[in-house]
Symmetry: C2
């Protein structure tokens, strides 16, 4: 992801996202973020005058952009792009991570939603924006494969919902089975949504 | 749910589940749970010698049993039980709650997973057990409607994954659309899994 060339601000946003992925929002302290990023603690106040809420919101925004950009990379990696192949690639990112690193981390947007949606602060809006940033290129990719536009939007929502829930179950059970089940069960439904060539 | 007849222990477990649903695990304090339950703070130590971790685990266990028992009630409420009708009833519990009370609360098992899975404590196991307690009667219900047993287990996992993710997206977006999309998109797939009568 090219973190090595990032400045301290970018490193802190990335570190916040990684710590939130692991422990959630409340358990992620500003001091810990600075240490993880190798940045002086004083620089947090400089770069994030809005404090922890600003940093969390930027981490959530980063995650949404990251997930959104991955869609094009997944597509580029598919020899013959299909909706089921794209969904399998989205899930494989998680099964690969869990195989390599254990079930340590989940989705930071999920954590921000679970912990911050009720409080009524700006983090709930940041989470909504992150989902939108992820869903939009996904729906476009489906449309590009021949799924009618209205259906593409619905299926993009379904794919993200199912993936988010399967990540939760996989972490709780320390087993990638829910992710593999999601791919196996949703694949045919997704491919059946491609309109036949005229 | 008959809370009025519960003793202080049951009320505290229920209160913990409700507060975790709203704010997550870390933001839910023991003092707040006692106040919510109308119980003396000293009674927490008496009933939960294992402290907050024990109380959180019991709240998560309560949620799993609650979700598991709802399956039979949803089935009883369907004139002609179908997999899609059951899934619609499961989602309607959430769309009804969000319409009545706003998007204040999510699933406590999701919160426990997001915040506690990495820590390696007993709460991760409690979350896994809660998902199992929910999935088992759901798979049985699908099998009872004619879905072959192996497929019923897969589809139960898919239904819970999709519902959990749709709850997250609905709370983030303050919109029940992801829940309604899940019902509309998964319904035909679920009904198609019913084996034809011989």
């Amino acid at each position: 992801m090219g973190e090595a060339r990032w400045g301290p601000r970018e490193r802190m946003v990335f570190s916040a996202a990684q710590l939130i992925r692991r422990d959630g929002v409340a358990a992620t302290g500003m001091r810990e973020v600075a240490a993880h990023a190798g940045a002086p603690r004083g620089s947090l106040q400089h770069y994030f005058p809005g404090g922890k809420e600003q940093l969390v919101n930027e981490a959530v925004g980063w995650a949404g952009r990251y997930a959104g950009k991955r869609i094009a990379r997944f597509l580029a990696g598919l020899e013959r792009p299909t909706p089921s192949g794209l969904f399998a690639a989205m899930a494989a990112q998680w099964t690969d991570e869990y195989a390599a690193d254990g079930f340590t981390a989940g989705c930071p947007v999920a954590a921000a939603t679970v912990e911050c949606a009720a409080a009524g602060g700006s983090t709930r809006e940041a989470a909504a924006a992150a989902f939108a940033t992820w869903r939009s290129p996904l729906a476009e990719a489906l449309a590009g494969m021949g799924v009618p536009a209205a259906r593409a939007a619905s299926l993009a929502t379904l794919m993200i919902s199912t993936l988010e829930g399967a990540i939760l179950m996989a972490r709780a059970e320390r087993d990638t089975a829910p992710l593999r089940t999601a791919v196996r069960e949703l694949g045919p439904l997704l491919d059946a949504a491609v309109a036949p060539a005229p």
